[in-house]
């Protein structure tokens, strides 16, 4: 298992580098620059700023400078929020985004697996069909629809939860987390149900039943783990979806997470800020995929031998 982790971390470095370089050059292809405001700056100020931030150097050299600073942990200065470095901005936003994403994935797993389990046990009956229909709807609804709908209902009409901002206590987290978790939990419910339907027909379930075990024990001890293998392989892409999905949810609920900086940075051509967030996202997604693989091996020991 250690070998797997080591091998994955080694391939992560070139992957990250490729992502950083690709985003660097793609971003520079986009027209406009960080200092194009509504009122154009005088050309000499523009030039002075360009020189100050090193933007007048050849692209390759800029890329090299960026990467070599990154290796030392320096994400560079923000070009738009002039008093902050990218590291400072990320340090503000990251905890909020991580809490949001982490809680959402836990909630999605809880709802998804229990709904899928319940549906599989009642396969073919009305409860099964209802759950699967709800799951389909949940998967299909985009967060920019569910988010405002939740805010309207629980925030404005019922006045139970804060509509915007971080506020006091934890109640502000509820709606964004639910909005983010809903589509993922729908997909997980479907995968769990399909996985269980396959596993419960297998021979080792019959062996367990022949042993006189109670049905719940058969389900949880012998059936559930192999049935969750498809869920584990979905977790990597799902984590990516949660991170990017957070951009919308953070905007809808006015939360100062990473997503806001990502979108603002891209619109303002704040090159170091966007690159910093992209690097972070990429690293997180690679990490999540590694987790998914480790979970995979725990669920089914046959996967541990590559």
């Amino acid at each position: 298992m250690l070998a797997l982790v080591a091998r994955r971390l080694m391939t992560a470095v070139p992957t990250l580098l490729a992502i950083i370089l690709a985003s660097f050059f793609l971003m520079r292809l986009a027209p406009g620059g960080p200092f194009d405001g509504e009122r154009p700056l005088p050309p000499e100020t523009q030039a002075a700023l360009q020189t100050a931030y090193g933007l007048d150097k050849p692209l390759w050299e800029q890329a090299w400078i960026y990467v070599s600073r990154l290796v030392q942990g320096d994400f560079g200065p923000s070009l738009v929020y002039r008093d902050f470095t990218v590291s400072e901005l990320v340090a503000q936003g990251l905890p909020i985004s991580l809490t949001l994403g982490g809680l959402a994935i836990i909630l999605a797993l809880l709802i998804g697996i229990s709904a899928g389990l319940f549906a599989a046990v009642r396969a073919g009956k009305a409860a099964d069909k209802t759950i699967m229909m709800i799951a389909t709807v949940a998967t299909a609804l985009p967060t920019f629809v569910t988010g405002p709908a939740l805010a309207l209902f629980f925030g404005l009409w019922l006045g139970l939860l804060p509509v915007s901002g971080t506020g006091e206590g934890w109640s502000w987290l509820i709606m964004p987390v639910v909005a983010l978790a809903l589509p993922v939990s729908g997909a997980i419910a479907k995968l769990t149900r399909a996985g269980l339907a396959t596993v419960l027909k297998q021979d080792h379930i019959r062996t367990a039943r022949a042993r006189g075990l109670p049905e719940t024990k058969i389900l949880f001890k012998h059936g559930l783990r192999p049935a969750l293998v498809p869920v584990a392989s979905y977790l990597g892409p799902a984590a990516a979806g949660l991170l990017t999905g957070a951009v919308v949810v953070e905007t809808v609920f006015g939360l100062p997470g990473l997503g806001r900086y990502f979108v603002q940075g891209a619109l303002n051509r704040d090159y170091p800020l966007v690159l910093g967030v992209v690097t972070l996202y990429a690293a997180l997604i690679i990490l999540f995929n590694l987790f998914a693989d480790l979970i995979y091996g725990w669920l089914d020991p046959r996967m541990r031998e590559g």
Binding site: Q202, D203, H204, R206, T207, A208, R209, A210, R211, G212, L213, P214, K221, H222, R225, P226, L299, D300, P301, R302, G306
Partner: protein, 515 residues
């Protein structure tokens, strides 16, 4: 005194009556075997009383004083867990993949309640079923064990709680031929030691006759005949039983009269096939090492070995449908190159037939097109109407009529599909057929009729045959000579009857014991 007694049982699934009028009695320390082809209802009869199939049983079923028909859920669970142990056919899938051997054995032992067994006691149970390094295996997952080892674990788990009745559903049919005898001997030993009543289910008469005290022959959901094993085999009353006994090849039956053979056609010398190791590992796997053999005109050669012995790889290399790393294959003194370099006339010389007849026919094609395909490719000069006549003739050769021309493979039975596959192999008039386990997937009655057909073709067309199998007794009905393989190398070769009478290699002795 009988432990388990079934009277006049009927089983239905979704209102369809599949089994009727079945009586089964199993006594303590004795073995009752149910014999039948697939679809005869034998497994259904064994598993349904315990609620392990979707079926519903009626009649009288008494296990150690408990009436299973009228049992409530609690009594049923008690009957399953305290009184009965089960061994199933597929050791590969019958164990839970994510639980260690120790955990599964503990669960099996604990089904009658506490106390939990100590690690030492668990290891002893594994040792009792003949597993070495028992302590180490407790921490292993099932996929690390071989098929035979897994089946031993299944047996250990089935008897861990000291049941009174052991139900074994085809316990050896998924295993390698040389292992079958060992597993059956283990079951016998445990049965006598613990006074177990054993109900054995099998499709293969030969594999149970030395072990069962009582035989029940089933066909199409009904009992055809039953009685003590010795009596039933020496003096069968019913026509079906007689056919079943005649179809089962045995080594003590008189040797068949085989036709005379001609000159050497195929000769292979120092053939080696290696595969790269899977994954990132270095090195190569030698599947076949340095094998030399020959086949004469009109001669049938048996290539016999257990699974993994390299027999199929060798067959594929000869037929030109698999890789060949080094060595020469020559036909009447002329060298046959590697598969892609063979000319069309060379390809027409040798034709293969495979194990799974239904899977080896394209499900979208009609029988007419399946059989005609080799002619289109190998003898493209032949006109369409002549081709149609050839297809009819080939079907006639395999005893199928004109009405099969437009049928699809899905509508054929296993035996019919294998006949179509043979028709496809012989239509382009090959000199040599390579049959890879061509009768192993078939029921004994069907398998023996295919063997008869092959003998007929051998005589009528002076066909040479390479018959790859794990079953020496069946091979003896067709083959002049035998080559025994183990781990990719020839361990013994010679005249079929001489080898059977006086086997030298351990592998051969094991394979003979298993027949």
């Amino acid at each position: 005194m009988s432990v388990y007694e079934i009277r006049n049982m009927a089983i239905q699934i979704d209102g369809k009556r599949l089994v009727e009028g079945v009586d089964i009695t199993v006594e303590a320390g004795k073995c009752t075997a149910i014999i039948g082809t697939s679809g005869s209802g034998k497994s259904l009869s064994c598993l349904t009383p315990f609620g392990l199939t979707p079926g519903e049983a009626q009649g009288s079923i008494i296990l150690d004083g408990i009436d299973l028909i009228h049992a409530d859920a609690h009594q049923m669970q008690d009957a399953r867990s305290r009184l009965t142990g089960f061994v199933f056919q597929q050791p590969l899938t019958a164990l839970t993949p994510h639980l260690t051997i120790g955990a599964q054995l503990q669960e099996a032992a604990a089904q009658v309640g506490p106390p939990r067994l100590s690690r030492h006691e668990l290891a002893q149970k594994l040792e009792r079923v003949g597993l070495s390094r028992a302590d180490e295996r407790l921490d292993q997952f099932p996929h690390r064990l071989s098929g035979g080892e897994r089946q031993r674990v299944m047996i250990a788990a089935a008897i861990a709680h000291e049941p009174k009745l052991l139900i074994a559903d085809e316990p050896t049919s998924a295993l390698d031929a040389s292992l079958r005898g060992e597993i059956m001997a283990l079951l016998d030993e445990l049965r006598l030691e613990k006074g177990l009543a054993m109900l054995l289910v099998s499709h293969d008469l030969a594999s149970v006759e030395g072990h069962a005290d009582h035989l029940i022959v089933m066909d199409q959901g009904r009992v055809v005949e039953c009685g003590s094993t010795a009596n039933l085999i020496t003096n069968p009353q019913e026509e079906y039983t007689k056919r079943l006994i005649a179809a089962t090849a045995r080594l003590d039956e008189p040797a068949p009269q085989l036709q005379a053979v001609g000159d050497i056609l195929l000769e292979i010398e120092a053939v080696t096939v290696t595969f790269p190791r899977p994954g990132w590992r270095r090195g190569k796997i030698k599947a076949v090492t340095d094998i030399s053999l020959y086949v004469r005109e009109g001669e049938a050669l048996a290539i016999v070995g257990g699974s993994g012995s390299g027999k199929s790889t060798l067959g594929k290399a000869i037929a030109g449908i698999g890789p060949l790393t080094s060595g020469t294959i020559s036909w009447q003194g002329q060298s046959l190159p590697e598969r892609r370099a063979r000319t069309i006339s060379m390809r027409a010389l040798i034709q293969p037939v495979f194990q799974d007849p239904v899977a080896s026919l394209d499900p979208q094609w009609k029988v007419r097109d399946i059989v005609a395909e080799p002619v289109k490719n190998l003898q493209s000069e032949i006109l369409r109407k002549d081709r149609d006549a050839m297809v009819l003739k080939a079907l006639e050769d395999v005893e199928l009529g004109e009405d099969y021309l437009d049928r699809m493979p899905a509508s054929l039975s296993g035996g019919q599909a294998q006949r179509v596959a043979i028709a496809r192999a012989i239509i382009a008039s090959p000199k040599l057929l390579v049959l890879d386990e061509a009768t192993s997937a078939l029921d004994p009655l069907v398998g023996s009729s295919i063997l008869q057909l092959l003998r007929k073709l051998q005589q009528a067309k002076k066909l040479s045959i390479i018959f790859i199998t794990h079953d020496i007794a069946s091979a003896r009905r067709l083959c002049h000579r035998i080559v025994v393989l183990d781990e990719g190398a020839v361990v013994e070769t010679g005249d079929m009857d001489l080898v059977i009478r006086n086997p030298q290699a351990v592998t051969t002795q094991k394979l003979i014991a298993a027949s």
